[in-house]
C-alpha cells in the first residue's frame, strides 16, 4: 500500500494551490459567479498553462496520460476553492469518453484542442426520467441517408452554454434502462436542431438543458458495438465519480478549516466559543468524517483507474456513499458552528454546503449508491 502522492503530483498540487490562492479567493469567486458566463476564461487559461487541461489526456494527443489518481489532488484543490470552471465537464468527462471510445483519427481531430484548453467538451448524458439510473437513456439515434441523427433531451449538462462539442449518449436499440443498444456520439454545439436552455445549478455552476431534434451526430466508436460503448460509458462515469469524490473532500476541507478558524476567533459569553466542550467535540467529529472521506477519495481513484479489478465498482459506490454522507454532515456542522453568518451568501461556508449537495446528485446520490451496493451483495 502506498498513499503518498508522487513528486509530480505534489508539484502540480502545489502550483495549483498557489495559483488558486492568487486568482480564486472567495471574493474573486463571487465576482466570477456573478458574471454573465459564470466562469472565467482567464482562469481557464491559467489552468491550461499549468498543464491541467492536458493532464488526463493521452500523451499521443498533447496530454500527459494521467489517471484518476493524478486527478485526485487536482480535483481536491478545485473543490477547496469552489472552482466553477469546466474542468469536470470537459477534461474529466468529455475527454475520457473521447479517449476511450474514439479511433485514432478522431482522437487526433478532437483531443489536442481539448488538451490545450481551446476546445471545450461537455458530457450530455443525464435525462429527466433517469434520476440516478445511469442506463435510463431515452435519447435515440438513427441513420438517415448514412448520417446519424439524434432525437431527445438531456438535462443538467454541466457547462453546456460554453461547450464547443457535446459528447452524447443515445440508444440505437432496446428500451431505456437496458444495458444493450447504447451508443456514444459527438455533436457540434452549433448543429441545427439543437437547442440549449442555459441555467445555473444550486452551487452556481453554469449548465444547460439540451433538446435534440434530428441533430446530426458523429459516432464515437462503433454505435453497433453496444458492449464496448457500455464499457466506455461506465468508465467515464467512474472517472467522474472519483473526480467529484476528491472535489467533495476539498470542499469539506474548506468548510472544516473555516469552522475551526471561527471557533478560535468568535467570542460569546466572555470567551472563545471553541472553549466549549460541546463545540470542541463537534470539531472532532468533523475531523473523523473528513478522514474517512479522504480515505474514500483514494479508494475511488484507485477503483476508477482499474475498473476491471474485483470489487472496483463496489468500491466506487462505497466511496460516493461515504463521502456523500460525511460531506453533508461536515457542512451542516460547519454552518451551525458559524451561526447566522454561516447562512449568508457572502460567506463561503454556505457555498460549501451547496456544492456538496450538488455533488451528491451527480453519478447517483447517497441512497442510489446504497441501493447499488445492496444489489451487488
Amino acid at each position: 500500500m502506498n498513499f503518498e502522492l508522487n513528486d509530480e503530483q505534489l508539484a502540480l498540487q502545489d502550483s495549483l494551490s498557489r495559483l488558486l490562492g492568487d486568482v480564486y479567493g472567495f471574493e474573486q469567486r463571487r465576482t466570477i459567479a456573478a458574471s454573465a458566463a459564470g466562469w472565467s476564461t482567464a482562469v481557464w487559461q491559467r489552468l491550461a498553462e499549468l498543464g491541467l487541461t492536458a493532464l488526463p489526456l493521452p500523451a499521443s494527443h498533447g496530454g500527459f496520460g494521467g489517471g484518476a489518481a493524478d486527478l485526485m489532488p487536482v480535483m481536491r484543490e478545485l473543490g477547496k476553492a469552489l472552482v466553477l470552471e469546466p474542468y469536470l465537464s470537459s477534461i474529466v468527462l468529455g475527454a475520457t469518453a473521447v479517449r476511450l471510445a474514439a479511433d485514432e483519427v478522431l482522437q487526433v481531430q478532437l483531443l489536442p484542442g481539448v488538451a490545450s484548453g481551446e476546445v471545450r467538451l461537455a458530457w450530455a448524458h443525464d435525462e429527466q426520467g433517469a434520476r440516478h439510473a445511469p442506463l435510463w437513456i431515452e435519447a435515440h439515434a438513427r441513420q438517415e441517408d448514412g448520417q446519424w441523427v439524434i432525437d431527445g433531451a438531456k438535462c443538467n449538462v454541466l457547462h453546456a452554454p460554453s461547450a464547443h462539442r457535446f459528447v452524447v449518449s443515445a440508444r440505437i436499440d432496446a428500451k431505456p434502462g437496458d444495458a444493450r443498444g447504447v451508443a456514444l456520439f459527438h455533436v457540434d454545439a452549433r448543429a441545427a436542431g439543437l437547442a440549449c436552455r442555459a441555467h445555473r445549478l444550486v452551487d452556481d455552476t453554469p449548465a444547460g438543458e439540451l433538446r435534440f431534434q434530428a441533430v446530426k451526430a458523429q459516432p464515437l466508436g462503433d454505435p453497433r458495438n453496444g458492449a464496448a460503448n457500455l464499457r466506455v460509458l461506465e468508465a467515464t462515469l467512474a472517472m467522474g465519480t472519483a473526480a467529484v469524490c476528491a472535489d467533495a473532500v476539498g470542499t469539506m476541507e474548506t468548510a472544516y478549516a473555516l469552522a475551526v478558524d471561527y471557533l478560535g476567533t468568535r467570542r460569546q459569553f466572555g470567551r472563545l466559543i471553541g472553549e466549549n466542550q460541546a463545540l470542541r467535540h463537534r470539531a472532532a467529529e468533523m475531523l473523523v468524517a473528513l478522514e474517512m472521506s479522504r480515505s474514500m477519495a483514494v479508494v475511488a481513484a484507485v477503483a476508477a483507474d482499474d475498473l476491471d479489478a474485483p470489487g472496483a465498482h463496489a468500491d466506487l459506490a462505497r466511496a460516493k456513499l461515504v463521502i456523500g454522507r460525511h460531506a453533508r454532515a461536515v457542512c451542516h456542522a460547519a454552518v451551525q458552528l458559524h451561526g447566522g453568518i454561516g447562512m449568508t451568501e457572502e460567506y463561503a461556508v454556505g457555498h460549501c454546503l451547496r456544492r456538496v449537495t450538488l455533488i451528491d446528485q451527480l453519478f447517483g446520490d447517497t441512497e442510489a449508491q446504497a441501493t447499488r451496493l445492496a444489489a451487488m451483495a
Binding site: Q128, A130, W136, V202, H332, G339, G340, E345, D365, T371
Partner: protein, 390 residues
C-alpha cells in the same frame, strides 16, 4: 387517559378547517404547497381575513382584537394553518410584541398598537441580535441615551428578519452601561421611517432576502415608545421568548411537508417506477412520521398538563430542539426526493418560478437556519442541561 380532543375542540377544528377551505385564496395555498415562503401581501391579506374571526391574534383579549382562546384552540388554529397550508399570522406582531404590550405596555400603547398589530396595519420586526451578540444576547451594545423627551439610539442590529418589509422594529437597547449586563437594557418601539436608520439586505444561502442589518445613527425615538420600565427590557425579552411556545415545535409544518413528500414521491418516477415503490423510502417517511407523532403528543402534553410543565421547566427547549431537527430532516428528505430536478437553481419570481423542484433545494438550505435562530440548538441544550444538572 385518552388522546381524543374534547367535543368542543373537535368542533373548533372543523370550524377552522371549513373557514380555511372557503376563504384561503387558491394561489396562496399553491405557492406555499410548492415550498415558497409567503409573500408580504399574502400574509397581510390572509391575516386580515383571519382577523374577522378574531383568529389573527386568538389568544389576546377581545377588547384588543383577540378571541381569548386557550392554548389548545390556539394550537388547533396553528395546526390548521400549516395543514392548509396558509400563511401564519405575522409572528413578530401577534406572537411576540402583542403579549409583551399586554403585560408591560401602558394603556395608551395598548390602545394605539394592538389593533394595528392584529390587522397588520403595522408590520413589526424584531431587533435583538447584534454582530457581537448572538447567543450571548445580553451583551448587546446598541445604545439609547435620554435627551429631553426622546431617546437617541446608536448602534447596529443584524439578522433582522423582514426588516425590509417592516414599518416598525421592537428593539433591545442599552440605556445604562453599568452593572450586570442584563440590567440597563430597555425595550423600545422604533418607527423605521425615522431619520438615521439604514437597512441593508443580507442575502442568505438560499439566494433569498429574508435577513437584514439595521443601522441606527443618532435616531430620535419618543420616550413614550419605551415599553415597561427603563432598564427592565430584559424582563420583556424573557417574557417574549417564554411566551412564544405554542408554535415552537411546528408540528403542523412537519406534517404538511411529509404529506407533500409522499405526494411527490408517488408522482415522480425513477427509471419508469414511482419513487414511492421503494420500501426504503417508504420506511424513511414512516420513521419521520413516527417522530412527528411523538413531537405532537409531547407538544400537547406540555401544553395541557401543568404537571409536566412543572416537572420539566426546560420544556420549550425540548420542543424547539426536536422540532428543529425534524424540520431539517424533512426539508432534506424533500430535497432528495426532488433529486436531480432540484439541482437547477430557480428564481422565486420570474421565469421558472412556478417549477415544482425550484423551492425544494433552497428550502433545504434555509432549513439549516432553524437550529440557529430563536436560540441556537447549543443554547437550548445549555438551558436543558442547567435544568438537569444545575
Amino acid at each position: 387517559m385518552n388522546l381524543e380532543p374534547t367535543a368542543s375542540q373537535a368542533a373548533f377544528r372543523a370550524e377552522v378547517r371549513r373557514f380555511v377551505k372557503e376563504r384561503l385564496p387558491t394561489d396562496i395555498r399553491e405557492r406555499l404547497r410548492l415550498g415558497h415562503p409567503p409573500r408580504k401581501q399574502d400574509t397581510v391579506a390572509w391575516q386580515r381575513i383571519l382577523h374577522e374571526k378574531g383568529w389573527a391574534a386568538p389568544h389576546w383579549p377581545r377588547e384588543y382584537g383577540g378571541a381569548e382562546l386557550g392554548q389548545a384552540e390556539r394550537l388547533i388554529l396553528l395546526d390548521e394553518m400549516f395543514r392548509a397550508p396558509a400563511p401564519l399570522p405575522q409572528v413578530f406582531n401577534v406572537g411576540m410584541l402583542g403579549p409583551v404590550l399586554l403585560k408591560f405596555g401602558t394603556e395608551a400603547q395598548k390602545r394605539h398598537f394592538l389593533p394595528k398589530l392584529a390587522n397588520l396595519d403595522l408590520w413589526f420586526c424584531q431587533g435583538f441580535s447584534e454582530p457581537g451578540s448572538g447567543s450571548d444576547l445580553a451583551s448587546l451594545r446598541t445604545s439609547a441615551r435620554r435627551e429631553g423627551n426622546d431617546y437617541i439610539v446608536n448602534g447596529q442590529k443584524i439578522w433582522t428578519t423582514t426588516a425590509h418589509l417592516a414599518d416598525w422594529v421592537f428593539a433591545l437597547v442599552r440605556t445604562d452601561g453599568e452593572g450586570r449586563k442584563q440590567h440597563g437594557i430597555s425595550f423600545l418601539l422604533i418607527d423605521l421611517r425615522t431619520p438615521g436608520i439604514t437597512i441593508r439586505p443580507i442575502t442568505s444561502i438560499d439566494g433569498q432576502h429574508h435577513l437584514n442589518e439595521v443601522f441606527f445613527d443618532e435616531v430620535r425615538v419618543p420616550a413614550g415608545n419605551l415599553v415597561g420600565d427603563e432598564g427592565r427590557g430584559w424582563d420583556c425579552a424573557k417574557y417574549l421568548l417564554m411566551n412564544e411556545r405554542t408554535g415552537i415545535a411546528n408540528v403542523g409544518l412537519c406534517r404538511e411537508r411529509l404529506d407533500y413528500a409522499r405526494e411527490l414521491a408517488g408522482r415522480l418516477t425513477e427509471a419508469g417506477r414511482p419513487l414511492l415503490e421503494s420500501p426504503k423510502l417508504r420506511a424513511e417517511i414512516a420513521t419521520l412520521e413516527a417522530e412527528v407523532r411523538a413531537l405532537e403528543v409531547t407538544n400537547w402534553r406540555f401544553l395541557l398538563s401543568a404537571d409536566t410543565a412543572q416537572k420539566n421547566p426546560g420544556f420549550a427547549s425540548v420542543l424547539k430542539l426536536k422540532g428543529t431537527e425534524l424540520q431539517q430532516d424533512i426539508a432534506q428528505l424533500l430535497q432528495r426526493i426532488a433529486g436531480p430536478a432540484a439541482m437547477e437553481r430557480r428564481p422565486h419570481d420570474g421565469e421558472g418560478a412556478g417549477h415544482w423542484a425550484g423551492p425544494l433545494a433552497m428550502r433545504y438550505f434555509y432549513s439549516r437556519a432553524a437550529s440557529i435562530y430563536g436560540g441556537t440548538s447549543e443554547v437550548q441544550k445549555d438551558v436543558l442541561a442547567k435544568t438537569i444538572l444545575g
